[in-house]
Symmetry: C2
């Protein structure tokens, strides 16, 4: 959801395009996570992607796609995939043809690739030699895995070719391409300030190019719906501000994203807006930045010097999994009991059989007794519990699918929240686990 | 990985293209799951997607993209998104312009949309009226949510416009579009057989169009690497067979995908190939179809009338989560203990402190003691355990990151497997959980 004026998101002229090669994307074998990663990183640089194409591993189709893209003169054209050693890997050849630059063999690069193969115990085959071919005039991006990347300034457009393997792409993007784009835009700003005609280096070229980047603030919230949040935010009049405000919903909450100019003045404006949003949302905000609920709640436990244990029913282990997603969580997470069967609730967690009979497994009373039980059993300072109906079956009129109780023991006090969750079985379980983490987080704040 | 001849995957001429509208895809706010869904469903119909484009919500850009795609004459062009009521929703207008067909108001459709709004308690606004506009000559696809879809045969190409909301897209695709594509191809096959010139209906047009669909077999394996598997499969000579064989790797194993003609003869050929693959892979195959390890292992427990419990260390609850991903898993899953802290291993799971001191928490001995301990505590028939180093820190030369032991108790016998896993913390934990499920599955087979 976007609140405010979309056009302000990317400066005019600061447009990017992406071309992904790999039939596995078109066959639906894998999701294109590179596209969402690059889209977001580009936006943080003030560059908005207008086209992202997955094209079949066919030389003519790839060349046509590259030419069509270059004709639209984006400041950057990112190519991903097709840099491996197989005959389906055609990005090098396609760039050479689309840009009219012959491929040149780089002996030093070949040596590096060979030693990468050797150090990983992979067998060397001479078909890998083609990975050392780079279009004339291109700069090689240092190897991360065994596929080299490269970049070329072609007219207005910085053409960047990166491997399709996500971690290799990320390391090359952040290590080599972003500095290039920032440097290019900085030079251009300087040239603009001096009345110059723009710099040929980096991402420069288009005279309308904007600042080197954007200031971005990510305000993380939990427990407010995206439409409610968008409505609350729309009550402010942002039009006077040189900033945009948007929201992004996920199972672990809604993120409010503020973007403004990467200038001291822009930062001050974002500070002011951020302050208003934080005041409006109060304890619904669990952080500003990229840390999730598991990290934030874990950090709160660590700071307070408290340990935690979990007693899970409907989440089946997911709550413990979420807590232990964080490296080093053994500092505060002791463990837990998954009591899927009622006998485990009674035998291991000491939930009174009479209480279960009277209120049922999905009840405020059971959630409280589970949390208290695991606290005693594992000698933890705090505890969380979940019990609910994840579906798709097992619901009734009185206790429908999506009814979940999350319990919390902290500082000697037990509290339970009743949730009415929606979505698939998986979504209900994810939301329940996050809701439990958030309950503890808010408790530790007080 | 594709073994054999790629060209055979889609019949020549049976090509599709997709165009997705929605800046949220380009900003990286959401992953394009519609693309992978459609890519796979199309392939099952014998249609290979060559282009999938995400384009910004801009009328001119969308029209250009549609025209470029239509010029390549795919049998089907799927458009997704941009059918809502906001001013960013431009797919109707773009189709009208690209195809030269004016938009027409459908009063009956407007009535349906209004009543959908009413029944969901949404406020009606007159901006929603534009959702009842459909290009002249198009057929409306019945409403699932509140955005109507439509289809038009334009020359060689069936143009289909579907909402961007994944569940609405899926229901319309399976309910309306697939029958249309199958019917079109059937008619064409009949026309071909009669020496005719092909049918104008449905997906017809290109004289090279193939059968209405493909036979597809998905052979699910665990415990063999994708490259090893591809090498094993390449030893067969598939060239005589009218079929393709490919592999798809995921954390829960590698799937071998066989595709052949949707004819009795094609099915017999696939049967023969499948038999050879099953014989070659033996107990590495956990199923044929779409059921995952959690379902298959659960079903084996259910059939054997056995219950299971889990004792987790490095997976932190994930193994229990995987088992309970399956609705109805309470029939065989009792629960578990997550013993992240060594004191929990000792106090709750009864792992001898001396054993822990002698062998360490990450050891064959501890994995065995954990599984046996949870079996006794929860009175389960079987048990699984995990203990390992998920990283990124905590590894040593002797016990590196990725070293994981999975333990199993079944039918009174304890066994432990030592794994050397690779990847991120998350990948190591996922692989460890699946390896534990697979250990139990194989044990129950014997």
């Amino acid at each position: 959801v976007e609140v405010g004026d979309k056009a302000r998101e990317g400066e005019p002229g600061r447009r990017a395009e992406m071309i992904f090669s790999g039939d596995e994307l078109l066959r639906g074998d894998i999701l294109n996570t590179n596209q969402s990663y690059l889209g977001e990183r580009l936006l943080d640089l003030g560059i908005f992607a207008t086209h992202a194409l997955c094209v079949t591993d066919d030389l003519a189709a790839m060349v046509t796609a590259m030419r069509e893209s270059l004709a639209r003169r984006p400041v950057v054209l990112v190519l991903s995939g097709g840099l491996g050693p197989t005959e389906d890997d055609l990005t090098r050849e396609a760039v050479a043809e689309a840009l009219g630059r012959p491929l040149e063999h780089h002996e030093d690069l070949l040596g590096q690739i060979r030693s990468r193969f050797a150090s990983r115990g992979f067998t060397w085959s001479d078909t890998n030699r083609k990975q050392a071919l780079i279009p004339r005039g291109a700069s090689v991006i240092p190897l991360k895995g065994t596929a080299p990347g490269f970049w070329i300034q072609q007219g207005d457009t910085l053409v960047v070719a990166l491997p399709g393997v996500p971690w290799e792409l990320k390391e090359m993007w952040e290590g080599a391409v972003e500095p290039l784009l920032r440097a290019g835009a900085d030079k251009e700003d300087a040239a603009d300030a001096a009345g110059g005609a723009g710099s040929p280096a980096g991402a420069a070229g288009a005279s309308t190019a904007g600042p080197a980047g954007q200031s971005v603030r990510r305000i993380r919230t939990f427990g407010v719906g995206e439409s409610t949040l968008a409505e609350m935010l729309s009550e402010f009049d942002w039009r006077g501000e040189d900033a945009t405000i948007g929201t992004r919903a996920a199972l672990d909450g809604v993120t409010v994203i503020l973007r403004g100019a990467a200038t001291p003045d822009g930062a001050r404006k974002l500070d002011a807006i951020q302050e208003r949003v934080l005041a409006m949302l109060g304890e619904r905000v669990f952080g500003v930045g990229t840390e999730g609920l598991s990290e934030v709640t874990g950090e709160a436990l660590r700071k307070a010097g408290l340990t935690v244990a979990v007693a899970e029913s409907c989440t089946g282990g997911l709550l413990g999994k979420r807590l232990t997603d964080v490296p080093g969580s053994s500092d505060y997470f002791l463990g837990g009991v998954t009591a899927y069967d009622n006998l485990v609730k009674i035998d291991v967690l000491d939930v009174p059989a009479g209480l279960l009979a009277q209120y049922g497994a999905v009840s405020e009373e059971t959630a409280a007794a589970m949390a208290e039980g695991v606290c005693r059993l594992l000698h933890s300072d705090c505890a969380l519990s979940t019990t609910g109906i994840a579906g798709p079956d097992g619901g009734s009129e009185e206790k429908p699918v999506g009814l979940v109780y999350v319990g919390n023991v902290a500082r000697g006090v037990t509290e339970v929240e009743r949730l009415r969750l929606f979505g698939s079985r998986d979504q209900i379980r994810e939301r329940a686990a996050y809701a439990a983490l958030d309950l503890l987080r808010r408790r530790l704040l007080r």
